[in-house]
């Protein structure tokens, strides 16, 4: 087969790889072993594994927005890819940071906690910046606009892993009534069958042929969907899985296509067939480039056609390495030596036979003491007897310390584990969710038993039959292992280290020190040493750490316990988590029927909830917000202004008990209120605090329409529904949100009535026929409008409710008929200014969930004779009626040239010390402040302690530059206190 050649750059040098190669495979193909520097000591590091568990080979992809910490063992190369090694300067070979290795004897566990205690201020200004600069992994990526998407799935069964167990499960479920999702992290199915020669034949076919045939069967089944290049990252409650699919595997990212797809999967049953992870063994300098896990070495041979080394040394404590020896021999190579810690009598006959036949030196009952070399391994030291060692020159050492079932997802699902003394590993014990484990993840390391397990564990599914598959296994059929976590270090050099966590540079010495210092609980020890806290979460080493700690503590591993495996299984990009909820889709956007007009007339919008509301309108390009607001508000007071109030919440309430309901929901009394009149109303929570406000329009005792604040609309409806359904279920009352069913045009100003008369020339707007706070419905052209006479500006005002499809036409007509009257469109900022001048509150600005109607001087809105309303009881509590509570007042600067800042504190001190050395008595804070163009000075509202008693006195308001300005406390009503403008 002719492989397609691909050219890529690593640290500025061009290399050739094959299509389908991972970065690691391609670098090994080019005999590159040094690929990075370690996190803390800047030690040279190589490629340790062949998959997601990789702790060392992390690189930066320069042409992908400088994406950092990419696993070279997972990421596939493509033409033109530019890769850079990490955590080194100026180059990988000559890294100045490696001075840390020379200083490493003092960088023991807890070094930072103990060392950088003082002097004061040094941590922030000296230590932290320095440590951040020298330690760490890759550099942050550049900003880019991701195209990652989310995809939802609802299925009956998810199978995680398409190795032997996963494929057998899928084959069994093919053609059944179940919707199945089969998820494989690699780009092809097969798992161990693609990675090794452990299985010779399946049903007398080569494993490759069987996989292809099975895949075809699954694809044709119509009930199973296969996701490749997809890693299940999270197993949430309840049977909810998150998986990340890389759609740009082996090709450059396309700006028009999603590079990543986050699959959100809801299932009834999860079958975990996600295999196992090989673990290493700790020995002196076990981090040198050239040290690699044995199964990973074999995977490079079979998946990528790369032989990392033709004559490596093999070091093992178990029977699994037979197939690596066999693979090398089949290719015409052979290991330089085979070191097994087991007694020769315990080593499987198949292995001994193979070693003898091919004249491979066997060192039984021996171990690797350590290895040496500068930037890569040059020789290994073998301890053949207690006090006898020999050295062998080699450029590669393959290590197998046994296997861990890949239990991360199982434990994320809150399943419980148990220690297996024979396999020397934790394996699933009790499930917490609907989980089935199959194959090596369940601790079943015998391929011949996998079929039996699949048939047994899946037998409860309806309509499936037992599978019959014949497996021909090459080598020992049973997995045998002897315990070994660490070998004894012969050299006492300060710079020779035996690592337990390669990514975080944690040594076995650190573990001992931590235990000595009292960190004998595994969770404490983990945090003190940072063991298994890297991005690889110690996939190849965490159990080894438990093994070593158990020996130090002289406890059984099962007593030591495991640390918690938390999601995600492997790092995933923030862009994938965000999906499309970024930039223009960051939050849903709501627009009013007037929106196109607002855009055309240069409205600057503000987000109110999800609504786009005009904040102010720019008359000319360079007009500032302050200028625009001053202009708009002056014009409203002088002539008339119009506000797009369509976003205000509107709720229709109807039923036999509507009056009783409204009386309970609001503080006001509506019993004596005449039909077709309106009332400003307050809604409280059970705690007596103001929750929302609005206008209640009474059509009759059985039918009301209320308005709410824009932001509070849905909460108010929910609040009403909750009380109607749970507290007063016997009431006959129903509510509909009609916020969107009517556009609202708020017109106000001294000329408002004139404009209304011109547009609605058949309506009598006289005070006698249309008094303040009344409403009615009128025919208008081919539709109906409801007009309410009310005001939020302190001027004569009308609210016109019209079907949205007619709103824009009516809006334009209002302007047409007021051409000579200077009608101005105004936004929310001007609305705030106008209402503040009048002393009207805004819920959320003058209130914050701790403010009662009494605090706001709105006692008149409380129906004193009402039997009950929500919050009534709370209003009688002693601390609620206390005169020392914060009360709403107005503030006017003594020197009218000064402005008052919103949010500033109101105090009694004339001068503020700089810096402030003693506590200052805060009376309250400024809730609203504006410069009034009508009064030509600032006006503000504030909530201050005992505010009502302080009216007429002088207080001070702090400023952001720690000055104070003197203010006079006044009633919170700055214009037209007699309401003459409202009723003219």
């Amino acid at each position: 087969m002719i492989e397609n050649k691909i050219y890529f750059k690593f640290d500025g040098k061009t290399f050739e790889g094959n299509e389908g190669d991972t970065i690691a495979a391609a670098l090994l193909r080019n005999n590159v072993k040094l690929v990075g520097r370690s996190f803390k000591y800047h030690r040279p590091r190589g490629i340790y594994t062949c998959g997601i568990e990789e702790p060392n080979a992390l690189v930066q992809i320069v042409n992908e927005y400088n994406e950092p910490n990419v696993r070279a063992t997972v990421k596939k190369i493509y033409e033109g890819m530019v890769i850079k090694s990490q955590n080194r300067w100026p180059s990988l070979k000559r890294d100045l940071g490696s001075i840390n290795n020379l200083l490493s004897p003092i960088f023991s566990a807890g070094f930072y906690y103990k060392t950088f205690m003082g002097p004061k201020g040094f941590w922030k200004n000296v230590y932290e910046p320095l440590i951040r600069k020298t330690a760490g992994l890759g550099k942050p990526p550049r900003e880019f606009k991701s195209k990652s998407i989310h995809l939802n799935h609802n299925v009956d069964i998810v199978i995680v892993g398409a190795g032997l167990a996963g494929l057998l499960a899928a084959k069994k479920l093919a053609g059944t009534k179940y919707d199945v999702l089969l998820i494989e992290r690699e780009s092809s199915l097969g798992g161990i069958m693609k990675n090794s020669k452990k299985i010779k034949f399946i049903n007398d076919q080569s494993p490759n042929d069987w996989v292809k045939k099975t895949q075809r069967l699954i694809e044709n089944s119509n009930n199973i969907k296969i996701l490749k290049n997809t890693l299940v990252n999270t197993y949430n409650f309840k049977d909810h899985l998150i998986a990340l699919e890389d759609r740009s595997v082996g090709k450059p990212q396309d700006n028009n296509k999603p590079e990543l797809v986050l699959h959100k999967i809801r299932t009834k049953q999860t079958i975990l067939a996600n295999g196992h992870i090989e673990r290493f063994i700790s020995f002196r300098n076990n981090d040198l480039p050239g040290v690699m896990l044995a199964a990973s070495f074999e995977k490079y041979i079979h998946r990528y056609g790369v032989v990392p080394d033709e004559s490596p040394v093999i070091f093992t404590n178990n029977s699994s390495t037979f197939s690596l020896v066999k693979s090398l021999i089949d290719l015409g190579h052979k290991p330089k030596a085979y070191i097994d810690i087991r007694d020769q009598k315990k080593i499987e006959a198949e292995i001994l036979e193979l070693l003898t036949k091919y004249n491979i030196p066997l060192y039984a009952k021996s171990e690797i003491e350590g290895c040496d070399g500068k930037k890569e391994i040059k020789r290994v030291t073998i301890r053949i007897k207690k006090n006898e060692t020999i050295k062998i020159k080699t450029s590669m050492l393959c290590v197998s310390g046994g296997f861990n079932p890949d239990i991360h997802l199982f434990t994320q699902s809150k399943g419980l584990l148990k220690w297996d003394k024979d396999l020397l590993t934790f394996k699933p014990d009790k499930i917490f969710q609907n989980t089935i484990t199959l194959g090596s993840v369940s601790g079943n390391f015998s391929y011949e038993n996998v079929l039996k397990e699949v048939n047994e564990k899946l037998s409860f599914f309806e309509g499936i039959n037992d599978l019959e598959v014949k497996l021909d296994i090459d080598g020992p059929s049973d997995f045998q292992i002897k315990e070994l976590w660490e070998t004894k270090n012969l050299k006492k050099s300060l710079w020779s280290k035996s690592f337990i966590d390669l990514q975080n540079d944690v040594t076995t010495k650190d573990l001992r020190q931590a235990v000595t210092e009292g960190f004998n609980r595994i969770e404490h020890l983990k945090r003190f040493t940072t063991n298994s806290m890297g991005t690889d979460q110690g996939k190849i080493s965490s159990i080894n750490a438990l093994g070593i700690v158990s020996k130090i503590l002289k406890k059984d591993i099962s007593e030591v316990g495991t640390t918690t495996y938390r999601p995600p299984y492997a790092p995933l990009n923030f862009s994938a988590i965000a999906g499309r909820s970024t930039y223009e889709f960051y939050d849903p956007i709501r627009k009013t029927p007037i929106h196109p007009w607002n855009v055309k007339h240069k409205a600057v919008f503000e987000d109110v909830g999800q609504w786009k509301r005009p904040w102010y309108f720019k008359k000319y390009e360079k007009e500032t917000m302050h200028e625009a607001v001053q202009r708009e508000s002056k014009q409203v007071r002088k002539s008339a202004g119009i506000l797009d109030g369509s976003t205000l919440g509107k709720i229709e309430i109807k039923g036999k008990d509507a009056l009783a309901f409204v009386n309970l929901i609001y503080t006001n009394s509506f019993t004596k209120m005449k039909p077709m009149t309106a009332r400003y109303a307050l809604m409280l929570g059970e705690d007596g605090m103001v929750k929302d406000d609005g206008i209640v329009c009474k059509i009759n005792d059985q039918h009301f329409i209320t308005t709410t604040t824009t932001g509070g609309a849905s909460n108010v409806l929910t609040h009403m529904e909750e009380y109607a359904q749970t507290e007063w279920p016997n009431m006959n009352v129903y509510m509909n949100s009609i916020t969107e069913q009517f556009a609202t045009l708020n017109i106000s100003g001294p000329k408002a009535k004139t404009i209304m008369k011109r547009v609605f020339n058949n309506i009598d707007f006289s005070n006698e026929r249309f008094p303040f706070m009344t409403f009615n419905t009128f025919d208008y052209l081919n539709t109906k409008v409801r007009i309410l006479r009310a005001s939020f500006t302190g001027e004569q005002g009308f609210e016109i409710y019209v079907l949205p499809e007619h709103a824009l036409t009516l809006w334009e007509r209002l302007f047409y008929y007021s051409r000579d009257l200077d009608l101005v469109p105004y936004g929310t900022e001007t609305m705030h200014l106008l209402r503040a001048e009048k002393g009207y509150i805004i819920v959320g600005q003058e209130t914050d969930g701790t403010v009662t109607p009494v605090d706001l001087n709105l006692n008149w809105m409380i129906g004193k004779n009402k039997k009950d309303f929500i919050g009534k009881r709370s209003l009688t509590r002693s601390d609620i009626v206390s005169s020392e509570r914060k009360q709403l007042v107005g503030l006017v600067p003594i020197n009218k040239a000064y402005g008052i800042e919103e949010g500033q504190q109101v105090i009694e001190e004339k001068i503020l010390e700089t810096p402030i050395k003693k506590p200052i008595k805060m009376l309250g804070h400024v809730t609203s402040s504006y410069f009034s163009p009508t009064l030509n000075h600032s006006v503000a509202m504030a909530l201050i302690k005992g505010g009502n008693r302080k009216i007429g006195s002088q207080l001070y308001v702090s400023t952001s530059d720690l000055n104070v300005i003197p203010v006079e406390v006044v009633k919170p009503n700055f214009i037209d206190p007699k309401n003459e403008r409202l009723v003219t």
């Binding site: 919707d179 889709f585 229709e652 129903y734």
Partner: protein, 172 residues
């Protein structure tokens, strides 16, 4: 106005329909009032719907129904219908026409929608003649299963955002 979104195996057409949101007990009195006007008895089972040529009637919750006018009515006629329903003191009917209506058809409709909603669209979970109220593109929507197509409705204020999300789901 009708706007069509086309994708491989999916078509989306926007319709200009009308709707009345009805609240009430759903008892005989309720059924009589409604049936007199639309010749349909309200579905009793939650999230079920029935339809004739003119109306689609769906039960959204234990005391809430949506009545969609499949044939355009005059504003006056719609107003009359609402008034007739509201004449029954135990019913609240509100004109709810200011809603956006999309008809989604094609074999891949579930695939595209699965980019926007977690809702289980499989036939065994979302059978024909049922409706759902769920989040689609992070906004509250109603989805009606009309055998070979869906009718999807959402607040009109979201229309532009929703169309952009639909187009985005098609593009990516």
């Amino acid at each position: 106005m009708t706007r069509t979104f086309l994708a491989k195996g999916m078509e989306i057409v926007q319709h200009d329909l009308q709707q009345i949101l009805i609240r009430g007990k759903g008892d005989g009195n309720f059924a009589d009032t409604v049936n007199k006007e639309v010749s349909l008895l309200p579905p009793k089972e939650n999230l079920r719907m029935i339809n004739n040529d003119e109306f689609l009637f769906a039960k959204q919750s234990f005391d809430q129904w949506s009545l969609l006018c499949l044939k355009k009515k005059s504003e006056k006629e719609l107003y009359r219908l609402v008034s007739v329903f509201n004449a029954n003191e135990e019913i609240l009917a509100s004109d709810y026409s200011n809603t956006t209506y999309f008809e989604i058809s094609g074999e891949n409709k579930n695939y595209y929608l699965s980019k926007l909603t977690h809702f289980d669209l499989r036939a065994k979970k979302f059978p024909v003649s049922t409706m759902a109220q769920t989040l689609i593109a992070r906004i509250d929507c109603c989805l009606y299963n009309l055998e070979d197509k869906y009718l999807l409705t959402c607040h009109k204020s979201y229309e532009d955002y929703f169309k952009d999300r639909l187009q985005d789901a098609i593009d990516l």
